[in-house]
Symmetry: C2
Subunit: 143 residues, 2 copies
């Protein structure tokens, strides 16, 4: 099975239900038993292959400093086994990031993620996010 329409729906469900709403166990029906972070510079899991438990742990730890985070999809492009999403992100900085204690300030970010699929399940991603913009905001807040 390789249905770009299904893959798009699965991508939107991951961003909305898992990452935005925090229903992390919903990833079990979206993500393959082995999920590879092919490329994600600055992400602590860059280059790693995760099982489903590791995938959920990554989401849990990544969401912790920004519990009200939300993704807003700007563009969605699918072909063959790939779905690309261009996104804006925002969240309130409520938990510590190494070097930056919780500030209570709103932080914004943007990025693009290319998700790979096999048999309707996500097998990994290739991503770049505007981490320089995030650090500029964090440093401004900590002055």
């Amino acid at each position: 099975m390789n249905d770009p329409g299904h893959n798009k729906s699965a991508t939107l469900e991951l961003l909305d239900r898992v990452w935005t709403q925090g229903d992390i166990s919903a990833s079990d029906s979206l993500v393959a038993p082995r999920y590879t972070i092919f490329h994600d510079p600055g992400d602590p899991w860059d280059g790693q292959m995760l099982d489903r438990s590791g995938f959920k742990e990554r989401v849990r730890l990544s969401r912790a400093p920004f519990p009200d985070q939300r993704f807003a999809v700007q563009h969605l492009v699918a072909e063959d086994r790939s779905v690309v999403v261009a996104w804006n992100w925002s969240g309130t900085h409520r938990g510590e990031i190494p070097g930056f204690p919780a500030s209570g300030r709103n932080i914004t970010m943007s990025g693009l993620t290319l998700y790979s699929f096999e048999h309707g399940l996500m097998t990994g991603h290739w991503q770049c996010a505007d981490r320089l913009g995030v650090y500029s905001q964090l440093q401004r807040n900590s002055r």
Copy 2:
């Protein structure tokens, strides 16, 4: 005319011929008379609409500090009027960047770019690049 195959070829030609080889005038046959940088955080032209002369000036000024720069395409995904390219980039730092005089060192970067097309010509892009990684390399070199 809207042919994703043609749009993919045009994208590869822009990255290879214009950005990598520096044949900047070749962009006249690839880029629409109005080109919009919809989103490109950290890029000096972010948010601007450029005519063909402005497009070429942006390429010329962007290439100047890294005259031997080259893009290596990792993924290419096209649908409807959009082409997304995931890329690695590298170049020798031979000209000044504000705050960072030429170091002669090799710099690497990665990113994803979503190009929009109309009638076979590029009308703009939505991009994120790993600028935090670039600044880390530049700061390391300047110590």
